[in-house]
């Protein structure tokens, strides 16, 4: 009996301690799950945050999540996020945010405040994808019509995954961008989206890469340039390589599908001069021939690979020139120099901006055509 009373006493004492539960206890249906954020700068120096939320109050078994857009304004980003309570009852929960759309105007002024908020807050996650919106106001993006997913943020994320496969978009996560911001000798990049009208409907289109200098947006690369940027960054996972063959009037084109690509960037230092050597090894398949010229034996294929290499080299050089003109080391050449030639970097790293502009880059492409598909010869047309 005494023992039972003792145990009961313990339970009585311990219960009030344990049953307090968390102070910030939240039920899942009292939260608004944010899937994407769009951050704008309003005229009066305030931030305008539009959150795309997944509405989970849908009835029925199908339960397709509907997206609801909530807009709110505040002096800082977090102020704006919390001000959403003024418009919509439950508070925004940022733990499931996948995409952060930053307006062009805000990015041109500098993305540090956005990055600080996104990394400091304990709800947001570091693997979010920052995206630049090329247009007036980032909130417009949520007015687009999604194709596959119900929620636009998910659509953007899926597009990023898919486009990565054809190497026409870069996939950047918050922490990678932060690393680019913090370390010297490399500039940040982000994918770009814009709205395009197709058959009267506004749809999203990924269109290349935004180029940063420090934390400010300074320019764009288009999709094809992005592909060549990916070659330098060794991010190519697939995609096609078109090659012009024959004379100009002929306008012959050949398409190679990339199976595998591996890039090695090697800086070297000779006679007080830094040169970068980029070796690109590509294994590709002949996929489409749009020309009269015949490719029938190994010698022709080798010839073709050589031509493709030359053209690839030209394209990459153009992209590098473009970056050099805007003076933004998006390829991370400076970082490569620092990593493999630390002594040189210590001496010259301070005026890398100047050095980068007149940096000499040698590109050595090495394309191997593995097979020619199901055809041995080109399609023959009877004379």
């Amino acid at each position: 009996m005494k023992r039972i009373i003792k145990i009961l006493l313990y339970i009585l004492i311990i219960n009030p301690l344990l049953l307090t539960s968390c102070w910030n206890y939240r039920e899942a249906d009292n939260l608004t799950l944010v899937r994407g954020l769009a951050i704008d700068k309003a005229e009066d120096n305030n931030y305008l945050v539009s959150a795309e939320t997944a509405d989970m109050h849908e009835e029925g078994m199908e339960g397709k999540a509907k997206s609801v857009i909530i807009e709110s304004k505040g002096e800082t980003i977090f102020d704006a996020v919390r001000n959403a309570i003024l418009v919509n009852v439950p508070r925004l929960y940022l733990g499931h945010t996948t995409v952060v759309v930053i307006s062009q105007k805000l990015a041109q002024e500098g993305v540090t405040p956005v990055m600080d908020f996104l990394t400091r807050d304990h709800e947001t996650r570091l693997e979010m994808h920052p995206v630049i919106y090329q247009g007036n106001e980032a909130k417009e993006i949520f007015k687009a019509k999604p194709f596959t997913a119900e929620i636009i943020s998910e659509e953007i994320r899926d597009m990023l995954y898919e486009q990565k496969r054809i190497s026409k978009a870069v996939q950047v996560q918050i922490y990678e961008f932060m690393e680019c911001l913090a370390s010297e000798g490399v500039s940040g990049i982000m994918p770009v989206v814009r709205l395009e009208e197709i058959a009267g409907e506004k749809v999203i289109r990924l269109c290349g890469t935004a180029v940063f200098k420090k934390d400010k947006l300074i320019g764009y690369l288009d999709e094809d340039e992005t592909k060549y940027l990916c070659f330098v960054l060794d991010e190519v996972e697939g995609g096609v390589l078109t090659v012009n063959v024959g004379s100009k009037e002929d306008n012959g084109k050949i398409t190679l599908e990339i199976l595998k690509s591996k890039t090695k960037v090697k800086p070297s230092y000779k006679e007080d001069k830094i040169t970068i050597e980029i070796k690109i090894r590509i294994r590709a398949v002949l996929d489409e021939v749009r020309t009269r010229i015949k490719f029938n034996d190994q010698k022709d294929l080798d010839e073709l690979a050589k031509i493709a290499g030359e053209q690839l080299k030209g394209h990459i050089e153009n992209v590098i020139k473009k970056a050099q003109n805007s003076n933004s080391d998006i390829f991370g050449f400076g970082l490569q120099v620092k990593r493999s030639l630390p002594k040189v970097w210590k001496e010259k790293g301070k005026d890398w901006d100047k050095l980068f502009r007149e940096l000499e880059v040698n590109i050595i492409p090495d394309i191997e055509i593995v097979h020619t598909g199901l055809l041995i010869k080109s399609v023959e047309v009877g004379e």
């Binding site: 304990h122 996650r125 693997e127 922490y175 932060m178 690393e179 990593r339």
Partner: protein
């Protein structure tokens, strides 16, 4: 009184967990950036020398703990003054570790819960562990340890795709100076802290070798730490490492396998908290033993609970914020611990060698008489 014994295996496992302990929360590597793993290895090398002293002390006085040794060597009064200071050190650092845990929990999840609730709750768990005694702790840790190792291995393997070995380059870019400066902090923070184990070295199993215990756990725990920091640098880069408050937790947040396995940072949080909890338990256990010795209480279990709760409530005003706590641990702690981690053990060791040699000489003259 019943004497507590823990086996060699349990002692090793306890010490490994202790070494890894709060370094999972406080990653000390502000200066050396991507060379932090070299700093860890330097710190291990330096600790190897000091640990020889600790192990020698434990070997010279089998079945005696540090407080009794101090009494034998320095006399009743002076010995007790040293014990008093040492007990303060144990109490202070124990409270600081409780603060580490509660700040960590507060920042990562329970941000509007009052700190006092978190620290007192932590206090309840630690008090229960200390009150149950060393043997229970030893058994508990030998159950937790395999789970713990599996957890870390899983996290490491899952994140393998996100490693970029180039992030470890350039090696020794800033020269050796920052590496050595960080090595000194790392030497003080996990490795030399094993001095605490002298407080219950008397409970090591008779046939176990203190050298084996100390060196085995130093090497395993040390290399584990080196791998963990290298992994963190490879995942998020050295610049991010010095920017985030809890880099190890952050790396676990990034793990993503396919489209289905993500957001598994809670595993990491549980591992971190359980490890740090072990460390706090070891400190406060030693503190309780010190207090019991000071007041001549034979059974230290009796006063375990209030001493632990005192530490856990005192942890609240210890630091104003997590930033202050981390800065203090990095800049002040290594110097603050020099008297306790280096000067005291070396003094004990030298006095012990001299005294024992004298005793040998006196007993050597008439050993037969005693033997007869």
């Amino acid at each position: 009184m019943y004497k507590e014994i823990i086996s060699q295996k349990q002692a090793i496992v306890l010490m490994i967990t202790f070494i890894i302990g709060s370094n999972t929360i406080l990653v000390m590597g502000g200066k050396s950036k991507q060379d932090i793993w070299i700093a860890v290895i330097f710190a291990i090398a330096a600790a190897c020398v000091l640990v020889a002293v600790y192990a020698r002390i434990a070997k010279l006085f089998p079945e005696k703990h540090l407080f009794e040794i101090l009494d034998i060597l320095f006399g009743k009064v002076f010995g007790r003054i040293i014990v008093l200071f040492f007990a303060w050190y144990l109490f202070h650092i124990g409270a600081a570790i409780v603060k580490n845990i509660s700040e960590f929990i507060r920042i990562i999840s329970l941000d509007s819960t009052p700190v006092c609730i978190i620290s007192l709750m932590t206090g309840i768990v630690i008090a229960y562990a200390v009150r149950s005694g060393l043997e229970v702790m030893g058994r508990l840790i030998s159950i937790i340890f395999p789970i713990w190792i599996t957890g870390t291995l899983v996290l490491t393997i899952l994140s393998i795709g996100q490693y970029d070995i180039n992030r470890l380059k350039p090696v020794l870019y800033e020269g050796l100076e920052p590496v050595i400066s960080d090595a000194f902090r790392l030497f003080a923070l996990p490795f030399a802290e094993t001095v605490v184990f002298l407080c219950f070295a008397g409970s090591f199993q008779r046939k176990s070798s203190p050298y084996k215990i100390y060196y085995y756990s130093l090497l395993v725990g040390g290399f584990y730490l080196a791998i963990v920091v290298a992994r963190t640098v490879m995942m998020i880069g050295a610049d991010n490492l010095s920017m985030f408050m809890y880099p190890l937790y952050v790396t676990a947040r990034l793990i993503r396998v396919g489209n289905f396995l993500e957001k598994i940072e809670l595993i990491s949080a549980v591992l971190i908290i359980s490890c740090t909890f072990t460390k706090a338990t070891v400190y406060l256990f030693s503190f309780t033993k010190g207090v019991a010795y000071l007041f001549n209480i034979r059974d230290y279990h009796r006063i375990a609970a209030p001493s632990v709760f005192l530490a856990s409530i005192y942890s609240i005003p210890l630091y104003e914020s997590a930033i202050e706590m981390i800065k203090w641990a990095q800049d002040i702690f290594p110097y603050y611990s020099i008297p306790f981690q280096i000067i005291l053990p070396v003094a004990v060791w030298i006095t012990a060698e001299i005294k024992l040699r004298k005793n040998k000489n006196t007993t050597a003259e008439n050993p037969q008489n005693q033997a007869m």
